[in-house]
């Protein structure tokens, strides 16, 4: 039997001393090399779920496993996360004082040794996202689509097996949104990475092979999507 990449068991996440409940007993398994979209309206708990998968947040109740090991018991989880998980944010979250190339290099510190080795990897990633000519530009000089491509390249910096994307097209116009989704799908297919996308946009969700629906902190649907585009 293939071990799941991520397994979430009865995950509950409360905030504000239990007054707010974001997740109410979520069970979800994600296998390696899947592309999964988690679809739900605002406030449904989808970003919270993504944060639990990345280990950025811990559940109030239940457990989250990564490759069979419960995250909260894994020592040096931050180091493992840096190598194994790439994170793409809706608002790009690039460092304003650094160039595109430098932003891509940031996650490599502590993982990839040597300035030259890192520079080579940055160059490869800039090629991959089609931004070699914009390497020296700071985020303020890039368009929204370009910034998200830099953010994707940054997520790929350490060749992670899992990419978590939180509303990756949320701040983009439709043309750029299509381009970003194409890029993510290509990376997923070419590099055999597992892709988990959180979105409230059904068109974006339809790009993934599996659709998980979440409403009010509960998974209400989980189905394969044979029509993945």
């Amino acid at each position: 039997m293939v071990q799941p990449l991520i397994e979430i068991r009865d995950a509950v996440r409360n905030y504000d001393e239990g007054r707010i409940t974001a997740l109410r007993g979520v069970n979800l398994t994600i296998n390696a090399v899947e592309s999964v979209s988690i679809l739900g309206p605002s406030g449904s708990g989808k970003t919270t779920l993504l944060n639990l998968m990345s280990g950025l947040d811990r559940p109030t109740g239940g457990s989250v496993f990564f490759e069979g090991r419960e995250i909260k018991t894994v020592r040096q989880w931050m180091g493992i996360r840096a190598r194994r998980i790439g994170y793409v944010f809706q608002a790009f979250n690039l460092m304003p004082v650094m160039s595109a190339a430098e932003n891509i290099e940031i996650p490599m510190f502590g993982v990839i040794r040597g300035t030259r080795t890192r520079a080579r990897r940055v160059s490869e990633l800039l090629d991959l996202v089609g931004l070699s000519a914009r390497a020296a530009h700071r985020p303020a000089k890039l368009s929204g689509g370009e910034r998200q491509r830099v953010a994707i390249a940054r997520a790929l910096a350490n060749s992670p097996g899992l990419i978590l994307a939180d509303e990756p097209t949320g701040n983009l116009d439709s043309q750029n949104a299509i381009m970003i989704m194409e890029l993510l799908k290509n990376i997923h297919h070419a590099q055999k990475t597992t892709l988990v996308i959180v979105t409230h946009n059904t068109e974006v969700a339809a790009c993934c092979e599996r659709l998980v629906s979440i409403v009010d902190g509960l998974i209400v649907g989980d189905a394969q999507n044979p029509d993945a585009r």
């Binding site: 944060n51 990345s54 950025l56 947040d57 040096q76 931050m78 180091g79 996360r81 840096a82 190598r83 998980i85 994170y87 944010f89 608002a91 979250n93 460092m95 304003p96 004082v97 650094m98 190339a101 430098e102 290099e105 940031i106 996650p107 510190f109 502590g110 993982v111 300035t115 890192r118 520079a119 940054r154 997520a155 910096a157 350490n158």
Partner: protein, 373 residues
């Protein structure tokens, strides 16, 4: 990109604040450098001048806090000279005196038959003759500061003296001194038959065992006196000890101020960059890496401020030594030890000042930090 580029960029993001912080540290380090240099400079001036005169041991009152207030019978010199191992003894009366109400100089009185008077070298003029009680010798730096030359008159305590010679001697105390016959100074200062101390030359100064034995014998023979070797005299002088203590306590206050400046700047910076720190954490930076980044920012600020402060402090100390009021009393030398002290102070400022902000940054919960956008 090297890791150090990141803290440099972070500091460069707020150029005015970074510059002000560096200036604050520079002021603290300049105070530290200048104060410590001045406190050591007094000792250097003293020991350097004694060494230039060939003095090996200085005798003074055991219970006198300050050499200038010591009072010994000038006849004791002959008795000290009888102790085996002692080559020469010269009684000396020293006091600070205002010349024409403008220049404070060290007035020194020696008996003409003692070695100090005999060996005192002049660059111009001659020593006052046997019967000349109104002649004085002026150190070249004092003469220059006062605009005086040989045969000029000066007034000391309303009595007129003539400059008979100009001396040029190693050691800033020597170069700034006003030398006259012992009896003339005793009369002028109303201290007849008294000296403030005795300069002793040993027969075998390079033989440490012999020197220690002579010093011990002198102590036994003259229990009311204290005998200090030249190199010990500044260390053991209570006024200089007080001066050093004051300089160090002021320096500590300055360093604490510098520490608060670093701490304040970095704490503000961490609060402002909560979101960025959350992003770094989200992209996989470990707590140790975030800690290193903040602490490196502190060290960069401290090193830049300290380099500037050290240069400014050196210049300030030299400026003080050149002031007319300090002429002759200060001999400023910067040693490797002082540079190491400044480097250690800078490291302390950088590390201690950034510890709390770095700890705060590490404690930030990434998810909470990401909500601070």
């Amino acid at each position: 990109m090297k890791f150090i580029t990141i803290p440099i960029r972070n500091l460069g993001k707020r150029p005015v604040r970074t510059s002000l912080t560096i200036t604050g540290i520079a002021v603290a380090i300049a105070s530290f450098t200048a104060l410590v240099a001045v406190s050591r400079g007094v000792g250097n001036a003293w020991t350097g001048s004694l060494a230039a005169r060939g003095t090996h041991i200085v005798a003074t009152n055991r219970d006198s806090v300050e050499v200038l207030t010591a009072s010994l019978d000038d006849t004791l010199g002959k008795q000290i000279e009888t102790v085996p191992g002692v080559r020469n003894v010269a009684g000396e009366l020293v006091d600070l005196i205002n010349v024409e109400s403008r220049h404070t100089v060290i007035a020194v009185g020696w008996a003409p038959d003692e070695y100090m008077w005999r060996e005192w070298q002049l660059s111009e003029g001659a020593k006052p003759g046997h019967d000349n009680m109104d002649g004085v010798i002026l150190g070249s730096s004092t003469a220059q500061a006062m605009g005086k030359t040989i045969r000029d008159k000066i007034k000391l305590h309303d009595k007129e003296f003539t400059i008979m010679g100009i001396s040029q001697y190693a050691g800033s105390l020597n170069d700034g001194a006003l030398v006259m016959k012992l009896s003339a100074l005793q009369e002028l200062m109303n201290r007849p038959g008294k000296v403030t101390g005795f300069h002793i030359r040993l027969q075998q100064p390079d033989n440490e065992q012999s020197a220690a034995r002579v010093k011990k014998d002198l102590g036994t023979a003259f229990p009311t006196l204290i005998f200090n070797e030249t190199r010990e005299i500044a260390e053991n002088n209570r006024m200089l000890q007080l001066l050093r203590a004051a300089a160090w306590s002021n320096s500590v206050i300055a360093i604490i101020m510098g520490l608060i400046v670093v701490l304040n700047t970095l704490a503000m910076s961490v609060i402002e960059r909560t979101f960025e720190i959350g992003v770094l954490s989200a992209v996989g930076w470990t707590a140790r890496r975030i800690l290193s980044m903040i602490m490196l920012e502190g060290v960069i600020l401290a090193v830049a401020g300290s380099a500037l402060g050290c240069l400014a402090g050196m210049e300030l100390a030299h400026l003080l030594a050149r002031m007319p009021q300090a002429r002759g009393f200060l001999e400023i030398h910067f040693t490797t030890r002082q540079i190491i002290e400044v480097c250690l102070a800078a490291l302390f400022l950088g590390i201690a000042g950034s510890l709390y902000p770095a700890w705060r940054a590490v404690r930030l919960h990434p998810v909470e930090a990401l909500k601070h956008e």
